[in-house]
Subunit: 156 residues, 2 copies
């Protein structure tokens, strides 16, 4: 059910991002921009790779990851989002598993997921821990005063 | 003695980066690429700003900084390098002071400098501490096994 994203997924991916309720307007607007770069450079580019969890024509969730410059085998998980209507059904875990498998195949050693400190991200942080990530580093007040950058990592 | 970098500084900036002896070939090759983006987008773009410490026609050091996406008032200090022939003469500190002043004027709150764990970067890490940065976070084995990412921050 997981496959590389295709052009016609763009609208559903953007819609899911908005529907999660945890991303800022600026963050939501970033997704279609990255998706256009992904389409432009092709699915084999290392900068942005989009995968989707598909049920028939419906996209239930997506992940976007890419290689970190100037490091050896480090991949950023830029986005993972699941339609709020299908939470707790294993879509997120399946997307993480597929990302890990792909990163491992590319020779990756570490996946990094950056998230935020406030309460509305608590379920995101719990999810990362559940699928084996560790909150390895924190930058206080990064996003704004009272809103820390939480860097989660997973060795694969 | 500190001013915005101009096109003719490119060669000296690249040369200084190579001469420091601490950057990898890949990192050295990144500098002229960023410098070209800086020239292309103009000195007022927020992504990459280059400043130089100039003594007559000679560039003694440079810094490159830019705004971090999706955060409020966070600037990355991507590069700071001083010609090894003029170390300990205050060039680095002057570049940091100028960067801070510029970032403050742009409404910045935090400057982030990412560096590496191994011994050859020890003088870099000591320099950051001397000019008021703190090693706020570390990602183990980031660059490669045994080579950590050290994230230094300074609140301004």
């Amino acid at each position: 059910m997981i496959s590389k994203a295709i052009e016609s997924d763009k609208e559903q991916i953007t819609y899911i991002t908005a529907r999660t309720g945890v991303f800022s307007q600026e963050e939501i607007e970033t997704v279609p921009i990255l998706f256009d770069e992904y389409l432009e450079y092709g699915a084999d580019n290392d900068a942005y790779k989009f995968i989707v969890y598909r049920d028939g024509d419906k996209v239930l969730g997506f992940a976007c990851y890419g290689i970190r410059d100037l490091a050896d085998g480090v991949y950023d998980l830029f986005w993972i989002a699941v339609d709020p209507g299908v939470h707790q059904k294993g879509v997120g875990r399946a997307l993480i598993n597929a990302t890990e498998a792909a990163v491992r195949e590319l020779g990756g050693r570490i996946i990094i997921a950056e998230t935020s400190g406030p309460t509305e991200y608590e379920s995101t942080r719990k999810f990362y821990v559940k699928v084996g990530f560790v909150n390895e580093a924190t930058i206080k007040d990064f996003y704004r005063s009272g809103d820390d950058l939480k860097i989660f990592t997973k060795r694969i």
